[in-house]
Symmetry: none
Subunit: 199 residues, 4 copies
C-alpha cells in the first residue's frame, strides 16, 4: 500500500473521505467508534471501509501515519526558521492543533503496527532532534531534554484538556505554554530520572 498501484481516481477520493470521517468519528466518540458509524459518516458502505483498510487497526494506523507525516513536513520546514526556540514551540503547537478537541492517542496501538508508522516515527525523532539542537544552541531550551521527551510531552496538552467536559477549543494552548516554560533553561531543576531511549 506504500506505493503499489497508483489507485484509481475515485478510489483515492474514497480513501480520503474515509480517513477524514474516521478521524472525526474517533475524535467525537473515542477509539471505539464503530466501523459502521465511520462508514455512514463517510457516506459509503461498510464493506468499502474494509476494501481500503483490511482491519480497523489498519485504518487507525493510516490516520496516525497521515498525522505523523504531516507533522514531519511541518518540522522539516521549521528546521530553516530563523528563531529556533520559536520554531520548536511552533512545532508543538502544530502537533497539538492536529489532535484538537480529543486526544487521539492511538499512537500506542499504532506503535505495534509495522514498517511505515515505525519508520515515520523514527523520522520524526530525527526532525525533532534537529529542532531541539538548534533551540538548545540558542539557549531557548534546557540541556537535559531529548527528542523522545518532546515526543512524549507532545500529547500532554490535548490529553489534559480532554478531562474537561466543555473545554474551550483552544484551551490546550494554556497547557502547552506551561509545559514549554518547563522546558526553558530559566528555573530548571535537575531531573530525577534519565531520559528514556527507544520510542
Amino acid at each position: 500500500m506504500t506505493s503499489t498501484r497508483p489507485l484509481r481516481s475515485d478510489a483515492a477520493r474514497n480513501r480520503q473521505l474515509l480517513l477524514a470521517a474516521a478521524a472525526d468519528e474517533f475524535a467525537a466518540q473515542g477509539l471505539d467508534a464503530s466501523v459502521a458509524d465511520i462508514a455512514r459518516r463517510a457516506g459509503v458502505g461498510k464493506g468499502t471501509v474494509f476494501r481500503h483498510f483490511a482491519t480497523k487497526d489498519d485504518l487507525i494506523a493510516a490516520i496516525v501515519l497521515d498525522r505523523i507525516n504531516a507533522l514531519n513536513a511541518v518540522g522539516d520546514e521549521l528546521l530553516d526558521a530563523t528563531d529556533p526556540g520559536a520554531a520548536l514551540l511552533e512545532f508543538l503547537t502544530a502537533a497539538a492543533r492536529q489532535r484538537q478537541q480529543r486526544d487521539l492517542s492511538f499512537l500506542r496501538q499504532a506503535g505495534e503496527l509495522d514498517a511505515e508508522v515505525t519508520q515515520a516515527n523514527t523520522k520524526m525523532l530525527r526532525t525533532i532532534d534537529g529542532l531541539l539542537d538548534r533551540a538548545r544552541e540558542q539557549g531557548a531550551v534546557r540541556a537535559d531534554i531529548t527528542a523522545v521527551d518532546i515526543v512524549l510531552l507532545m500529547c500532554a496538552p490535548n490529553h489534559v484538556t480532554s478531562h474537561l467536559p466543555d473545554a474551550p477549543p483552544e484551551l490546550w494552548q494554556r497547557y502547552l505554554a506551561i509545559i514549554f516554560d518547563g522546558l526553558r533553561p530559566q528555573g530548571a531543576h535537575p531531573l530525577p530520572q534519565p531520559p528514556p531511549t527507544a520510542p
Copy 2:
C-alpha cells in the same frame, strides 16, 4: 461505603480484592477490560462483581472515589507542611504514584457519575486551592495558575509515559519535574488562554 451497612467479614475482603483487581486490569488493558477478566484476576465469580458493584460504571466510580479520597487525605496533611512549595510537589507526586504505570483517566467518565465522586472532586479542588495559595505566597509557584490547572496537569506525567511500551516504572518523575518547573515563577511567560472554570 458512605455509611450504610458494616459489611460482612469476608464480603469486605472481596470488595477490596475486586477494587484492586479492577484497578490492575484497567491499568493493564485500558478502560474496556472485561468484567470477566477482572473477576478472574480477583479470583471470584463473575456474579460476585455485580453483587458488589451493580454496574461496571459503578465499579469504576468506586475506584475513582477511593483514589480521590486517598489523595484528599494526603493533601490535607500537606496543608500543614513547613515548605509549601515542596508540599505541592509532594501532592502531585502522590497523585502520579497512585496511577503508576498506566494512565487511569476514567476520571472523566466518572465525573458524570453521581454525588460521591463529584463531591470528592470538589473537596479536592478546595484542598489544592489551599496548597496552591500557600505555595504562591512563598513564591514557589507562579501567580497565574489555578487549582483546576493543577487537577488537569496532575494526570499528565502518567499519561505521557504510557505511550512508551517498556517505560521504567518511575519515569513519570521526569515529566512531573519538567511540568513542575513550568509552574515556577522563574522563566514564566504569560499564558495565552484564561484558566478554565468548573472541573
Copy 3:
C-alpha cells in the same frame, strides 16, 4: 411434605408468609418475578425461600396446590346448596376471585409436578362433576358440557381481563357472566368438537 413433620411454630409462619408473598409478587410481576423479590416481600432472606421450597417450581406448585385445595373446600360445601345452578356459578366465581387481577396460569407448569397437585386436580374434577350433574338435572346447564370443560373455562375470565392495562378489579365478573350464559341450555348450539378427556 405431605404430613412428615409437624413443622415448628415460626417455620410454619414463614411458610405462609412466603406463599402469600410469592402469590402477590407473581400477581404483580408475572411468573418470572425473582426469588429475591419474593424473599424481600416476605421479609426473609433468600436462603429461607429455598429451605422451604427446594425449587422455584416447587414454590409455584405449593401455591397452586393451596389454591386448588381451597377451591375444593368451597366446591364440597356447594354440593349441598339448594340451587345447583347458582352453586356452579358460585364455584366459578370463587375460582376467578382467587386469581384476581392477573391470571396465574402456572397450572400448566404445576401440572408437570408430581403427586399432590395431580391428586388435588383429580379431586377437583370429581367435585365439579358433582356440581355439574346437579345443575344439569335442574336444567341450569346444557347437557354437552363436562367437568374438564369447566376446569378449562375457569381460567378464562381472569386471563381475558389481564390484557387490559388498567382493568377495574372486578371486570372478570363481566366475562364470567358471558361465559356462563354460554353454558346455559337456552340458545345452545351443538358443539363442533368432542370434549377432551384427561386434565
Copy 4:
C-alpha cells in the same frame, strides 16, 4: 414494513423465516423463548435476528403487527358478508386459528409498543365495531356487548386449551362455540359489570 425500503431479495426471505420461526418458538416455549433458539430454528445466525429487529421486543411487535393486519384484512372482507352473525363467528374463528395451539398473548406487551401496533389495534376495534353492529341489527348478538369485549374474548379459546398438555389441535373450536353461544341474545342474563373502555 411501513413504507421504507424495498428490502433486498434474500433479506426479505430471512425476515419471513424469522417471523415464522419466532412465532413457532414463542408458541412452543412461551414469551421468553431465547433469541438464540429463534435464530437456530430460522437457520440463521444470532446476529441476523438483530439486523432485522433491533430488539427482541421489536420482533414481538412485528409478529403482533403481522397478525393484527391479517385479521384486519379478514375482518374488512367479512363486513360485506350476507350473514352478519356468521361473519362475526367467522372473524373470531380466524383469530383463534391464527394463534393455534398455544396462546400468543404478547398482545399486551406489544400494546405498549409504538405507533404501528397501537394504530392497527385501533383499526381492528373499528372493524369489529362494524361486524358487531350488523350482527346486532340482525339479532344474532346480544345488545350489551362491545367491540372491546370481543377483542378480549378473542384470546380465550386458545388460552383455555393451552392448559391441556395434549389437546387436539382443533379443540379451541369447542370453546369458541361455547363463548359464542354466550354472546347470543337467547338466554342472555344482565351483565354485572359495565364494559371496559380503552383497549
